[in-house]
């Protein structure tokens, strides 16, 4: 059967030759078409990750570049820096509150909206619109809203609102209080992103056929049990997707902090991305800044890699 083998070998006629050329042309063309973007990603993403990694091991801690290798010294100094340790702890608190809060609030809203509400579209739009704002706008508004005011002049923003509703005991210093500074930032972030989670969950809830709930009801499950044992497991891919989206936003949070608080009192609102910017472009410690960048990259990878494995495996299965 040598005649069927692709290629000019054997007793092939002109038709085979034409088809062979066409196939080769297709292959070459497809490679050529992918090449520009592949090259750009190779240089501008992976190339610069490699460069940043290299800088983080170098001695470039002033304005003039100095690429001499110093090993892990920059990382050691970072972890001895109390401010960096505080930013890492803040990042942990912020991510926990922001991701957890958005997931819970988003799920709650989706469940409430899924009960055949009148004017559902209106509510949906109102809940979702903060997503359309930038973190800078959110930061500026919430900076006003969470401004605690002063004892002499009276309260402002949310505190004033609480006072007017007779809930004055709930007043706090928000982002001016070093103990809860980062929580105030998380409140603003939850306000912005929970509507997005609501939209994802609502889409998921609409995808669950009524038969399944009906079957559970016939089996004697209460409404709460239906959500716990039927709905939530079916929504697991959505929870997972929302977790990834919120997680990577949360770990890279920078603009909200800049617009809202800056580092805050005692660095209580500081996050690694902000510290990285200050260290690199204000203090000219490029190597240490690069070190923070690499640490952030590792943290985000810990979050993303399981997701990639999960989604790739599912693509193979389907």
């Amino acid at each position: 059967m040598r005649g069927i083998v692709w290629g000019p070998a054997g007793e092939v006629g002109p038709l085979f030759l034409v088809m062979w050329f066409k196939k080769k042309l297709d292959q070459v063309l497809s490679v050529l078409l992918v090449l520009p973007s592949a090259l750009a990603i190779l240089v501008f993403v992976y190339g610069f990750i490699a460069l940043t990694t290299y800088v983080s091991f170098s001695n470039w801690n002033r304005l003039v570049p100095d690429y001499s290798f110093v090993g892990a010294a920059n990382y050691l100094r970072l972890f001895q820096n109390p401010r960096f340790v505080i930013t890492l702890r803040n990042l942990g608190v912020f991510t926990g509150l922001f991701v957890g809060g958005s997931l819970v609030l988003g799920f709650l809203l989706a469940v409430l909206l899924d009960r055949r509400i009148k004017a559902e579209g209106l509510f949906r739009t109102i809940y979702l619109y903060p997503l359309a704002l930038s973190f800078i706008v959110t930061g500026v508004v919430w900076r006003w809203l969470l401004n605690p005011g002063s004892p002499q002049m009276g309260s402002t923003g949310i505190n004033l609102l609480l006072e007017m509703m007779g809930l004055g005991f709930l007043k706090t210093g928000w982002y001016t209080d070093p103990r809860i500074g980062i929580i105030a930032v998380a409140v603003a972030a939850i306000w912005q992103m929970s509507g997005y989670v609501m939209a994802m969950y609502l889409a998921g809830l609409r995808g669950i056929p009524e038969d399944l709930r009906e079957a559970a009801r016939v089996d004697g499950a209460s409404e709460l049990q239906i959500y716990r044992y039927v709905v939530l497991p079916l929504l697991r891919p959505i929870t997972f997707g929302a977790l990834i989206v919120l997680g990577h936003i949360s770990l890279k949070i920078y603009d909200l902090v800049v617009a809202m608080t800056g580092p805050g009192p005692g660095y209580s609102c500081d996050v690694p991305a902000y510290f990285m910017w200050e260290l690199t472009f204000r203090a000219n410690r490029f190597a240490q800044g690069a070190g923070i960048a690499i640490i952030l990259l590792v943290i985000v990878s810990i979050l993303i890699v399981p997701y990639l494995r999960y989604s790739l495996r599912r693509e193979v299965e389907t």
Binding site: L112, F123, I126, W144, T156, G157
Partner: protein, 72 residues
């Protein structure tokens, strides 16, 4: 259609959340129509006493539409 109590509660909760999401935008809009002298953190929830478009004029001025038009 008569509203059952549970249904009413549901709507109250939904409207309360809607107010929570709209609150910052209320502040933004109200503040944008105040004159510069009137903007004050301690009276941020009050509607503007005099309707003023001064802030929009300034913002658009900073945007410098004319300069951009000259480029084209």
């Amino acid at each position: 259609m008569k509203l059952r109590p549970a249904r009413l509660l549901l709507y109250i909760v939904l409207i309360a959340f809607a107010l929570y999401y709209l609150m910052p935008v209320y502040v933004l809009v109200v503040t944008s129509f105040k004159s510069f002298a009137e903007v004050n953190l301690y009276r941020m929830w009050n509607p503007p006493r005099t309707f003023s478009l001064e802030s929009f004029r300034r913002a658009l001025g900073a945007w410098a539409i004319k300069d951009w038009l000259q480029i084209f």
